[in-house]
């Protein structure tokens, strides 16, 4: 189906509203006015709510830079239509607290031998959200589990070693705080 077909179909549809809870707050969008036919959740979050932490680097589900949490699960927001998010609960990196252990661990990683957990920073929000989802599901992952969970994300600067350390450190921080990611 081409985008043109989407447009025609979209125009013929009845006006309706899409409700999405984003970072704890419910937003209402009108289809065809706020949400163009074929608009992805990534575009909606970036262009209508100015949540530009997530990045659209491939727009085809191959790099993980647009990862957000939907109902607690990591999803690729470039592969979900905005309308499909109707009734769901979305968490973006802006919804994490400033002292969130994953953010802190990514920022602080400088343990000798592993480099930093980020360089250009473009993939970082996606890695952070994928890590949050992992640690919620599995608070004390092994290195193999970390690699498995984060192998859908690309970091071209190649900070994988630093990222893996950061996730381990975040896991320790979460355990020390006795809380949840």
């Amino acid at each position: 189906m081409t985008r043109n077909d989407h447009t025609k179909r979209g125009e013929s549809q009845r006006r309706r509203f899409v409700r999405i809870t984003v970072n704890g707050r419910e937003h209402r969008f009108e289809t065809n006015r706020d949400i163009a036919p074929g608009m992805t959740l990534a575009s909606l979050l970036r262009e209508k709510l100015d949540l530009t932490g997530l990045k659209v680097a491939c727009d085809e589900g191959a790099c993980g830079a647009c990862t957000v949490l939907m109902d607690g699960r990591a999803v690729l927001s470039c592969m979900i239509l905005a309308e499909e998010a109707n009734g769901h609960d979305v968490l973006t990196i802006e919804g994490l607290s400033k002292d969130h252990p994953v953010i802190q661990a990514f920022a602080e990683q400088s343990e000798p031998g592993y480099g930093t957990a980020l360089q250009c920073g473009y993939c970082t929000p996606g890695f952070v959200m994928a890590s949050v989802a992992l640690l919620r599901e599995n608070p004390q992952p092994t290195m193999e589990e970390i690699k498995e969970a984060l192998s859908g994300n690309i970091c071209r600067c190649g900070c994988y070693a630093g990222i893996a350390r950061a996730v381990l450190h975040a896991s320790e921080m979460i355990a020390a705080r006795g809380g949840q990611a």
Partner: protein, 790 residues
């Protein structure tokens, strides 16, 4: 083994293991990039531009009808090659500058090869920007409008392989420049035979041993996650550009020169950039020009952004090297002859940089002790995506053959290749063996377990019957030392000491991820130790604005990590003097009798008296101390240090799959400026190095000339699950001039990986792969051939 490096000189801030200064901003998603700035919420009325791209590898537009596209609701304007503002643009290229210097139209680096017409009617690769650009209310409408443009194409024959393009009768791309597709000699790159020292043929004839080898480096791509993007506003006579070009001042110069606008009417703003890796966004890309013209035409800010597919429109130049080395039986190399054919793709741009410019430097700083050396290279036009500048430009290609030849020669002589390298490689400013190379190779060998793991080719231990392990290495001279950055001219730095003693640091450079921003802040804190400042007291501005910032020190050669700090070391002396003069006035004492230590000014010998710098500067009228300094890099020729990569691989002889098990990356840095950042570069570079060695490859349909895998599903970049354990090793052996005497390291970290991995594969299974990437089918075919099969 993870052991922190040991600094040669104890310093307070320089060389630290610590987080990057932008770590929290980036980890929390707050850092803004061009695509975030060019957001419809932030730029009301923003229009979106899309350019027509050729579906053919070689074609000319006979005619073009835009009437249906113009009638599409939401289309704001269309510019075509026939519009006078487009048609009158000067011929150009995207080889204005390699990013070391900033240039004008007249002084562009590769001025001999102006083979690009901005939005012309002639297409010479699939994806070429030709004919028309559309602006619309949304990207989707702009795309739809492009589909409605009716183009009458004159489809021309095409050629994809350099060897075929060189043959008589092959389709010719740019007859006015290269009648047979072979680019002519030019004043910057020099003759085809651009190094010819001694008498190579005679030395080869006289040599006791001669080895011959071949190595083909393929056409990979940079894959910055941040797609090319610009936003241009042209109101009245003022043009403003926001972009992720990594060279703000060159972007300004390019637009000014091409659109004939005075510099003060062109403002360029650059923020964080999501990875660079040599991608050719030095500001000379034609899209800046047609986006600007479109912004004027529609009277709105216009955004132009590449898709992921379009971000494959640059890459590493494909090269095929053949080489002959002559040597004595004792391992002394007496002759080295290199012949190279470079497949430039459809435009010359920087072709001569990887083919001639970089190898010439390597010949100078690595092969100085080889008496007979010849380099010969030919750049060839083909109908592929133009490709040249990518991290490790020219050096990665050359190292592939260099590492191969060292391994070959060592095998022929029954020697350890490490000894062959030590016996022959070094620069002219120091005797052999070169101290830096000795340290780098010894450390690398010890860390990988060279002595225990290296064995005769194909005779290593076998695992599960089919898997065999081997180790290999490759080494290379590093670049760039300060003296190699002379062409950069003056590097500008400004230091403002606020009345409360905090610092505003004007050391502009586009932050592409390299970490030079953190080096700058550490360098500033180090230089201003007498003020008692620490890194958190210093603000480094991440946004460059050509109207207000000093000239940006271009993020190339990994050299910004120390060049600006060298200037700060000098500027700090001026800051000190200015503070003493202020204190002289306040304390009513001669400045010469005063001292400033740890943020206190006092009369020498009376450190308990005096006042704090803060007390001094907070006195009305609260005028900050401002020092701006421009300084050229030191010209003293100090040679360069060396780098090496060691790899251990496991090859499955039943599937051809290669797993890299362990890598050791060794850099002699001169001085480590920021240890965590340097290690991140060493480790990170291997993602490109391993990808280029094993999986990454752009693939074209030979029948149609259409690229097939310009996406991250079919073009496979290593992920966390694919990467081996990597040990980064930082050394300080060599020393350059200046306060720190450091050397850029980041770019070179990718260079030795492919060669080290191919040599390790040979060590493991005894078959040489001389063409990247070493995909399973190639390994299996080579194993089959070695067994005497097909």
């Amino acid at each position: 083994m993870k052991t922190p490096y040991r600094p040669r000189v104890a310093r307070t801030f320089i060389g630290q293991y610590r987080p990057r200064i932008d770590a929290m901003e980036k980890a929390s998603g707050r850092a803004r990039y061009a695509d975030d700035i060019a957001s419809p919420l932030r730029v009301p009325g923003m229009a979106y531009a899309k350019v027509l791209r050729s579906p053919h590898p070689h074609a000319r537009i006979r005619s073009l009808d835009t009437s249906k596209a113009e009638a599409l609701p939401g289309v704001l304007g269309i510019l075509t090659y026939k519009d006078p503002e487009v048609a009158t643009l000067k011929p150009t290229n995207a080889g204005w500058t390699d990013g070391v210097d900033t240039v004008s139209y007249e002084t562009m680096m590769w001025r001999r090869f102006k083979d690009r017409s901005v939005l012309g009617d002639y297409a010479c690769w699939v994806g070429d920007e030709v004919g028309a650009v559309v602006a619309a209310e949304s990207e989707q409408i702009a795309e739809e409008a492009l589909r409605l443009i009716e183009v009458d194409w004159e489809v021309l024959p095409f050629v994809l392989r350099a060897e075929e393009a060189m043959k008589p009768g092959a389709p010719v791309l740019h007859p006015e420049i290269a009648p047979q597709n072979v680019m002519p000699e030019d004043e910057v790159g020099g003759p085809h035979r651009f190094v010819d020292k001694g008498d190579v043929e005679r030395a080869l004839a006289d040599a006791e041993v001669v080895v011959e080898g071949k190595a083909t480096f393929h056409n990979t791509t940079q894959n910055s996650l941040d797609n090319w993007c610009c936003l241009i506003e042209w109101q009245d006579d003022q043009l403003t550009v926001w972009s992720n070009s990594y060279e703000a001042e060159q972007t300004r110069s390019h637009i000014s020169e091409m659109l004939d606008l005075p510099l003060h009417k062109v403002r360029v703003v650059s923020s964080y950039v999501g990875g660079q890796f040599g991608r050719g966004d030095t500001g000379d890309q034609p899209f800046f020009l047609f986006t600007a013209l479109m912004a004027r035409k529609v009277g709105r800010p216009v955004k132009f952004k590449h898709t992921r597919h379009e971000s494959f429109h640059d890459g590493r130049q494909q090269t095929t090297y053949t080489a002959r080395f002559g040597a004595k039986r004792d391992g002394t190399i007496t002759a080295a002859s290199f012949h190279c054919i470079g497949n430039a793709g459809a435009h010359a741009d920087h072709t001569m940089f990887p083919l001639k410019f970089a190898p010439k430097e390597v010949a100078e700083v690595a092969l100085a002790h080889v008496p007979n050396v010849r380099f010969e290279a030919y750049g060839v036009y083909t109908n592929r995506v133009p490709a040249c500048m990518m991290r490790g430009v020219g050096n990665s290609q050359l190292n592939l053959i260099l590492g191969h030849m060292v391994d070959l020669l060592a095998e022929r002589l029954g020697r350890d290749p490490i000894d062959i390298a030590l016996q022959n490689f070094g620069h002219e400013w120091a005797p052999l063996p070169n101290d830096s190379l000795v340290a780098v190779l010894q450390k690398g060998a010890a860390s990988i377990g060279w002595k225990e793991k290296r064995h005769l080719p194909g005779h290593g231990p076998s695992y599960d019957g089919t898997r065999r392990r081997g180790v290999g290495f490759s080494c290379h001279p590093a670049w760039h030392a300060e003296w190699q950055e002379l062409r950069r001219g003056e590097v500008q730095v400004g230091i403002t000491v606020n009345p409360d003693g905090t610092i505003i640091l004007d050391a502009p450079t586009v932050e592409t991820g390299t970490g030079s921003n953190t080096c700058n802040v550490l360098g500033c804190a180090e230089a201003l130790r007498f003020l008692g400042v620490s890194p958190q007291d210093i603000h480094w501005e991440s946004v460059i604005d050509t109207n207000t910032s000093s000239k940006d020190c271009v993020q190339t050669d990994s050299a910004v990590s120390f060049l600006q700090s060298e200037v700060m070391a000098v500027a700090a002396r001026e800051v000190r003097q200015r503070i003493l003069e202020r204190a002289a006035d306040a304390l009513q004492l001669p400045a010469a009798d005063l001292d400033v230590v740890d943020g206190r000014v006092f009369a020498r010998g009376f450190p308990e008296e005096g006042m704090t710098v803060r007390q001094l500067l907070m006195r009305p009228p609260l005028v900050p101390i401002v020092v701006k300094l421009s300084r050229r890099p030191l010209a003293e020729q100090t040679g360069v240090p060396f780098i090496a990569t060691f790899a251990e691989v496991e090859v499955d002889t039943s599937t051809g799959h290669v797993q890299v098990l362990h890598m050791v990356v060794v850099n002699d840095c001169g001085t480590v400026m920021f240890a965590s950042g340097a290690e991140a570069q060493q480790i990170g570079g291997q993602t490109i190095g391993v990808g280029e060695a094993l999986t990454e490859e752009t693939i074209y349909d030979q029948a149609t000339g259409i690229p097939l895998n310009f996406n991250w599903i079919d073009y496979t970049i290593p992920t966390m699950a694919d990467m081996p354990e990597i040990d980064p090793v930082l050394l300080e052996v060599w020393r350059g001039g200046g306060e720190y005497g450091a050397c850029g390291i980041g770019e070179g970290t990718v260079t030795c990986a492919p060669s080290a991995i191919l040599n390790a594969i040979y060590n493991a299974v005894g078959v040489r792969i001389d063409e990247l990437p070493a995909k399973p089918e190639k390994i299996l075919a080579a194993l089959e051939k070695a067994r005497g099969g097909l």
